[in-house]
Symmetry: C2
């Protein structure tokens, strides 16, 4: 059922500050966590959340009056019985029980609560009023409230999975790290599955109905966190666009690039959003200028979000002097496709200078192309040295800001190490585009985990990201990867 915007947005439209790291630290970097509604039933909400929290390296307190012990831990009857004030309390309880528990937590000095229950502003007027009372508790006490109607949050650097959803763990967090902010829990879950392909996703932060904490707060938190290198943001709307602008500006000034997928770009999409979270999806002048002014990069569709964010995490901090894109391939067909995609995104693909051309001619077989695109031919697959020599020659050419390597077949994973090192040495963006329908391999996983070489599965996504890179105004050009 759709409720009126006034009820749903009342909390969000007043002039509260953007909650950055100081405000969200207890929630997202907790030393102690309690779970109210912890359950021995593995299929229940409380049981699934308990399992997810079981690897938390800090102090974890199950709370449930019907058990003395759960999962090998002492179980407490109530939050106020705990031996300390927990930083973060997850409420895995029915909607009816939430308000009294929220009050108890606020009075006890809890840092933040995560409300999983639904049945609030997304349902009816009574739910909207119940949600507003949670806001009042948050404002009075300073205790932060995540949700309600929320799947939870994950912060892998803190070993925290305060969620009933099973976010995929993925491999170890290495290389360039993406912090993911998703208003929708289901979308966050799907997007976070990029971790299974090797992407280092440091955070998955969802906010459900956003009664107190919304995507702007999460962006501000990540802007100030040292545990991620870029931010991926998917959102429908916010109650106060100015708060989001400020959060994005904070990210830009902290050198933390943001890729954004705005949901509800169409009238039909906005109508659906009003039925969903009922957050304001329009801003005067439209979202694109607002996002651009704040230095964020809007992506063309949701499929582009994660790989674009990973690219931004790896892209060099200083934009190169040249604005051209060079293409290096072992296959003529993929080289042509790359040029077509570059043209679609209005990227310049100049021919190499004389010195570069001479180096290419020496490295490429007679039936290859010592030009841009450089077709090093399938021989490059068997002779990585010639491929690397071509890459080095193209990256040394001052006309080029970036090198794109579309690959149509598996390449040895170790080659990625050499390419990554070369990207770092030249301080230019290097993108491998996996031109295969077989999307997972040891090589792609390796590329995801390296700090400089970016991996795309779509030439269009790649060229859109490079177009953003080379056309960025100075504030954004500065807003890339901090020095290490």
């Amino acid at each position: 059922m759709m409720t009126s915007p006034e009820n749903n947005d009342a909390a969000a439209t007043d002039a509260r500050p953007v909650h950055g790291r100081a405000a969200l630290r207890r929630m997202l970097e907790p030393v102690s966590v309690a779970l109210v509604g912890a359950s021995p039933n593995a299929a229940s909400l409380g049981g699934r959340t308990l399992a997810n929290l079981s690897t938390f390296p800090g102090r974890l307190y199950p709370v449930n009056g019907r058990h003395a012990e759960l999962a090998g831990r002492r179980c407490y009857p109530a939050v106020s019985d705990l031996p300390e004030r927990p930083d973060c309390v997850v409420l895995a309880v029915p909607q009816e029980a939430v308000e009294a528990l929220a009050t108890e937590c606020a009075e006890f000095g809890v840092g933040a609560i995560v409300v999983l229950a639904s049945g609030y502003a997304e349902v009816d007027e009574a739910g909207a009023q119940a949600q507003q009372r949670l806001v009042t508790i948050a404002r009075r006490s300073g205790m932060r409230v995540v949700g309600p109607n929320c799947v939870g949050v994950a912060h892998r650097g803190a070993g925290l999975l305060a969620a009933f959803a099973e976010f995929p763990p993925g491999p170890a967090i290495v290389g360039a790290r993406v912090g993911l902010v998703a208003q929708s829990g289901a979308l966050g879950l799907g997007l976070s599955q990029a971790a299974e392909g090797g992407m280092s996703i440091s955070h998955v932060l969802t906010c459900g109905n956003s009664c107190d904490i919304d995507v702007a707060d999460y962006v501000a938190y990540l802007a100030e966190a040292e545990t991620c290198d870029s931010i991926a943001l998917a959102f429908e709307g916010v109650g106060d666009a100015d708060r989001l602008s400020r959060a994005l500006a904070l990210a830009a000034s902290n050198g933390k690039p943001v890729a954004v997928c705005k949901l509800g770009t169409s009238e039909a999409g906005r109508a659906a959003a009003r039925w969903h979270t009922n957050t304001a999806t329009d801003v005067p002048g439209g979202w694109t200028p607002l996002l651009a002014a704040a230095g964020a990069m809007p992506v063309q569709n949701i499929e582009a979000l994660m790989e674009t964010a990973a690219f931004l995490a790896k892209a060099p901090r200083r934009r190169a002097a040249g604005r051209g894109v060079a293409v290096l391939s072992g296959s003529g067909g993929t080289a042509i496709l790359a040029m077509d995609a570059a043209a679609r995104h209005a990227l310049a693909t100049p021919q190499p200078g004389a010195a570069t051309a001479a180096r290419l001619a020496a490295a490429v077989p007679a039936f290859g192309s010592p030009r841009n695109p450089c077709d090093a031919t399938a021989q490059a697959t068997r002779n990585p040295e010639s491929l690397l020599e071509c890459a080095d020659a193209l990256l040394a050419d001052p006309q080029y800001a970036a090198l794109v390597i579309p690959w149509g077949r598996s390449q040895p994973a170790r080659l990625m190490d050499d390419i990554d090192a070369m990207a770092a040495r030249h301080g230019k963006a290097v993108c491998v585009v996996w031109m295969s329908q077989r999307l997972e391999s040891a090589t792609t996983e390796k590329a995801q985990q390296l700090p400089h070489v970016a991996l795309f599965h779509s030439l269009d996504h790649c060229m859109a990201a490079l177009a953003h890179l080379v056309s960025s105004p100075p504030p954004l050009a500065q807003g890339l990867r901090p020095a290490e």
Copy 2:
């Protein structure tokens, strides 16, 4: 090195017929195959091709004067020593040895030869002349010549892998089958890897330098073959655009839809193509009108090709009366994204009629949306009956030609069976869009293998295909999946 177009295209611009199934049957449906240059060295060209041919169910003859037996088979000194005239002979020999062998094969009555060697028109003038001599042999004898400079062909229905490249086998060929035609071998290899995700790819037909057989011939063959349901075509250019038009028209009149990715849509891409295969990439008036007139569907980028072709293989033969698209989701966020993508492709997404709305309202929880998009909420994950009831209600609404189900999390594979059966019952297109970065699962593989439900990994690819479906002129609307 780039050669002049005259040399390279001379063979292709004369008025030879389009070689359909009758002309290519011995090559692609052989009873007997010989491999010249068969080798015990598994890493060599001849050894790799021998391994690929080893599962051929017909008669296979290794030919190599230095061995009496290879891979458990009697080995012959020459093609003319074979006990029969083989339908197809693969020449895994150096360029210098090809011409004499081609002449021997033609005189012996071989149906077709596959020339893997490079060193022809793609290299220099001498190579172009050598290639022209192969054309002359083909024209005089009627023996078909594939290549040169070609990775080979695969036809899974015939158990034929006449290639040195290892095309992925994928699971059994079931459901709707896609025949893949790729001018570039490397591209064909990458695209064919969709088989590993469960797509039924019946053929992988590459043509390298296309001296005698080009993509037009392959399209004509597949148009007449009963072993595939749609055609995926990726090509740079053809010597004679009219031949390709005729082949596409044949496919349309045989009810075999074709998805096309034309390489070289940009000036820079066309320049790269001239360096690559040097086939003519331009036609008067441009390719898009030509392809549209022939009833083919151009895709927006190479990443869309395979899933669009699989969709076309599964789409109902008769276009529904309505032209609207309905969206059914278990997540509000993905529903909004689907509406945005529909709007990008100018698809109508009308609200359901009164009877449909009443059925939806009865099936959807209070906090869901009994409208278009229909958010059946996450409860649908736990209660497939309500999801199926919503799907049935929407498909019964005459306004809708198609139903799109974007899913952000794993769904049970068996649900796909029910959805597939429902698509067949209503005779409408049903597309599942896998809104996950984890691209492989038992559920996606299941969906790929079902005959009616189409699987996409991109909302944009899905909506582009549906826009093609609902806006097709009558010839194309007829040109879909023959009655079973």
